[in-house]
Symmetry: C2
Subunit: 334 residues, 2 copies
Amino acid sequence: MAGIKDIAKKTGLSLATISRVFNDSNLVSNKTKAKVLSVAKELDYQPNLMAAALRSGKSKIIGVIVPEINNPFFSAIINGIELRASKLGYNIIIAQSHESSQKENRAIQSLLKLNVEGILISVSKQTDYLPILAKLKSNKVPMVFFDRTPLENDIDQVILDDYKGAYIATEHLINQNCKNLLHIVGDLEVSIHQRRKDGFKDALAKNGIPISKQRFLSLEMDVNQDTSKIRLLLQSKLPVDGVFVHGDETCLYVLNILKDLKIKVPKKVKLVGFGNTKFSMLSHPKLSTIDQGCIEMGTYASEILIGQLKSKTPLPTQKKILPPKLIIRESSAT
Amino acid sequence: MAGIKDIAKKTGLSLATISRVFNDSNLVSNKTKAKVLSVAKELDYQPNLMAAALRSGKSKIIGVIVPEINNPFFSAIINGIELRASKLGYNIIIAQSHESSQKENRAIQSLLKLNVEGILISVSKQTDYLPILAKLKSNKVPMVFFDRTPLENDIDQVILDDYKGAYIATEHLINQNCKNLLHIVGDLEVSIHQRRKDGFKDALAKNGIPISKQRFLSLEMDVNQDTSKIRLLLQSKLPVDGVFVHGDETCLYVLNILKDLKIKVPKKVKLVGFGNTKFSMLSHPKLSTIDQGCIEMGTYASEILIGQLKSKTPLPTQKKILPPKLIIRESSAT
DNA sequence: AGCAAAAATGTAAACGTTTACATTTTTTAT
DNA sequence: ATAAAAAATGTAAACGTTTACATTTTTGCT
């Protein structure tokens, strides 16, 4: 495979000049640039990024760590990340944490060994992110958190305004005349679920609806257990005419349970999910839900990180909060 | 960051020995090995894979190209790939083709620039894979196709037995007493859909059911157009009591259309999808479908490729055909 | 003890770039 | 025409490993 040397030989120029053509290119005359490029094409020259990375310390690789790639939400974000990163000349390398703090650390290790220039990460459930942060800081590897972030504040991050999303979802149910709301709460170890819970609460409060423990159903994140828990509640005496569910998938479970119990949706009970994942519009009735702008989240994350990478001096902390969007479909219709 | 040099200095050994500890390790005495490892830990040494890659030509990186990462099917396969690859000491780097042959080529280019050791690829729709193959062969980069493969034969690949999957799905419908079957055909530019169509056909033939053009509905891969096309057919005079759909997602569309038309599933019409994607068990009724063993597909692909990488001499062509599994749920119950 | 074979370690070049610094060439201003 | 400034190019070392080859040390055997 042809290298910079071959071009140098063929053009009679020095290695440095050739290299500059593919980099600083404004330090080299147009004439020679053209010559070099034509010879490069002729030889089908492909720069060896590893060599470049080794010498320059710039690998043009970004590491991405997610709990599960096989989760429509994360894969959509990754889609966004890849889109923007590849446009800006970076490759992405993906690792999964499988919700394990240990695997997360291992992933970071191997990404560092590969000399990634920066890391995008959505943390696993029980992450103690402080050591991670420390390690990366000491390695001078910038990182940007997305979606699931530590609750503290001084780190680059792009998140959805989960609070607001929950708030408008809840308010929507109230506006649709629901009197007895229920919120199915996600795993509170994950920050976003806490924020969604808060949004639900505040929406009730602002609308003068009393808040009781009964209005919340927390899950154990075990499908069988959870579905029977939900079923039990829904067939109990507790009056319920509107449910805000922390995620689309669980929302579909709720929908199925309601169908089993012959409770009509949206006639008797109205439903709003969260995520606007693909399957939210494949159900019957179609789910009302909160759109999270996954692609945008990914592109912003890429942009912020690459911004840091390209800047000589460390940029001030950036925190991008994306606006949620209420998608009204059939499951909450009047 | 500590390097091999620092360890050499601290232990008084040569670079070569240190390097060997982390590689050939059987060429070095246990005593020194232990010493080196302890010093390495002390200094928190992380090998620089780029440097190693440059010198040895082994990057420990595998490139993965899929049409869309944001597709539950592909992300599940990638999951499998990552699982096995990381276990075997390889990292994966992902690129998307977005069903464009041009982007696919660009992806291959940038993977080559990154010195990936091998490539796993599921081709985009209109790929002319011959130039790809030629280029990789000339670069001596082994590749393994998965799922969507060229129809020709002499390349490593791991695929599902789509033909058989379609066959058993169809036969299942026949056994459930369906007399008037319909097959909703996927984009025939993709090899798997052709194979599924063949399976359907042959199942009819074997069971003495006459085959007519009416029994096939081809789609344009445009959601709106397609749904109305399906709707039109289903409310026409054509008697239909069983539908085999090329994929779960489309199957859910069919289910929704049937619900709209007040045609009961599975009472009046039975339905079988393909893929066993997550949302096939989130619908009501739950979808009968064909399981594709995505994870296995990914792990096998990794294994075959890494096998090639580790072998000194090129291995004979390997072709792994995974068995489909019929998952019977509510949509095809009697 | 002495010798050959085997095991362990060392030497130094190489991988394909980038880049600080040096040098040459061209442009500009007088 | 000439000096100074600017632009273009060149030189050579460096990035952190691996590895062919050379050397030293250890082991086993008589």
